[in-house]
Symmetry: C2
Subunit: 344 residues, 2 copies
Amino acid sequence: MSKDPINTAKQRRRSDQVTLSQVAQMAGVSPITASRALNYPDKVSDSARHSVLEAVESLGYVPNLVAGSLASSRSRLIAVIVPSLINSVFVEVIKGLQETLEAEGYQILLGNTDYDLDREYQLVRTFLGWSCSALVTAGLRHNSACHTLLANWDHPIMEVMELGQGMDLNVGLDHVAAGRCMANHLFDQGYRHIVYVGARLAHDYRAGMRYEGHKEVLQAKGIEAPLVELDTLGSLQAGADSLAKVLAKYPQAQAIHFANDDLAAGALLAAQRQGLNVPGDIAIAGFNGLPLGQHVTPQLTTILSPREEMGRLAAKELIRRLSGKNVYRRQHDVGFTLQIGGST
Amino acid sequence: MSKDPINTAKQRRRSDQVTLSQVAQMAGVSPITASRALNYPDKVSDSARHSVLEAVESLGYVPNLVAGSLASSRSRLIAVIVPSLINSVFVEVIKGLQETLEAEGYQILLGNTDYDLDREYQLVRTFLGWSCSALVTAGLRHNSACHTLLANWDHPIMEVMELGQGMDLNVGLDHVAAGRCMANHLFDQGYRHIVYVGARLAHDYRAGMRYEGHKEVLQAKGIEAPLVELDTLGSLQAGADSLAKVLAKYPQAQAIHFANDDLAAGALLAAQRQGLNVPGDIAIAGFNGLPLGQHVTPQLTTILSPREEMGRLAAKELIRRLSGKNVYRRQHDVGFTLQIGGST
DNA sequence: AAAACGAATGGTAGCGCTATCATGACAGCG
DNA sequence: CGCTGTCATGATAGCGCTACCATTCGTTTT
């Protein structure tokens, strides 16, 4: 029991990884100075910095970021949680985030919820365990466990896509207003029988918000606002398939307001194949402003949302916050633009 | 100097984070037992496991994965490096990877090189610093620093998209063969003046490989294989713009073999707008098998590449390797399918 | 000249977890 | 009965890095 366990020296170093101590030794400085030379270059003398960098180069040192994060409880990881990767909208937001964040030395930890809030909660738990510097998530809705967890988290939280009272920072656009905008346009064009077509609105609830705006406008004008809900995710195919279905159910329909451009373009191309005239026989409108809409004939009337811009702005605000600067506006409205094509 | 620094006790705990020790204390077991209860549930007694899980729940414990990774030098992070997020092809591969990896409890660290191999090297360095469990990268080409770094790394490396002699594991398809396949198809359809149109082939070198296959076939038949290279990335717009350019330069052109479906569909839609008959005036072929190709009229002749499948397969092979199982085949050819539409 | 200060550097002690070995209890066996 | 083996648990010692404080030394201030 009182034996001196002198030979119990445990060898745990599993890999032959070069450590900062070795770099420091070679450079003839202490480990902490080597650490500073790499992380706060202007806190050490020119000569120290130089010899450390030289040692790094010649040993092929790769910093162990896991150890660094544990010691400093800062990770330079940003968690990004999106509901889908099929929908190119989220990918463009990620792209905007990424180009801005990578330039500042942050890395993205990507999670996909498949529109499932419980899955979101699981991902958030995991990501908090990585001491992420910040978290970006699509949307303002979370389950209650997730909400509690995030409310007690002391790092920036950025909720993107939609606009509203968020937990912390928020960059997005007003989907109800977008729905209103398109409904007004369709009304102004003289359409009176307008069908809204969306896919899985319980999950893609932002499309549901656009429908709310749409319905509000039309009902205020004393017009019905029928809704057709598809049970597949939005795609060209789903849009094409929905066209016949909508026309069968609402033969008097003059215009269809689709929840997004994939659906709308699918329907427009299907109409073309079927010899239907757009907008003569049926007008078609979408949402997002995907490039495809500008290449079909007639061009698709849609609402352009600044997706990459949203990602970039969100990233910039996060970076401001992370570098300790005050953030004046916690909420940013990136707006949207009605883009009128020949399809309405 | 010899003063007993009894009061120097340093307080470093910055956050009020719940630690495993607190969980263990509440559960009435040692920290290591608590650790085992969470990581190897069948290595502890039912009662211990139960009380630990109860304590976790009631304290709202979130495991510190950074500390765990440092101690175990395993991270359950998978680095994924792609050249672009605009090109939906890579996104689909990521999607396939993600759905498979997340199900096994791995997280994705995403990096984007913008087709720059030096950027790839930087990303690889950073990711190795996170002790990733494995690395997935698009393509077999790397700069020499990156190659050296990876060659000395003792974790699985998965190179996807193309097929060939890789560093470790490889899942992809033969792009030269794909180019040959389409060239043969066009020849068989009777076209003799065929132009290949690609974008930034020095960066998107896989498109260049397809051109090599294309050229090989045509030259073997004694036909010229003119190349038009665009200096923007592939997009509908670039495809549309290129059509006039190609026809001006090669008035005798009967068919255009585009490097991808974005370009091809853009050209097809532009032809339609300009009243050109496809394939009567000009035949059009693409590569990838994007859904859009099936919705335009005429349907686009293309080569279908199994992108999500590629991601899923890559993920499965990685998981096999990571769970210690032998991997019989280091190389997987996912193949491709010629999809003949009306556009040729 | 003494005191005060700032810049560069280093010693020490962790960050929160897990690998490793040690221990004690109990079962099976000749 | 001792010997070995298995199981559940725990004590200890790190993983590789950085926060925190202390020290040194040259310079400025009073």
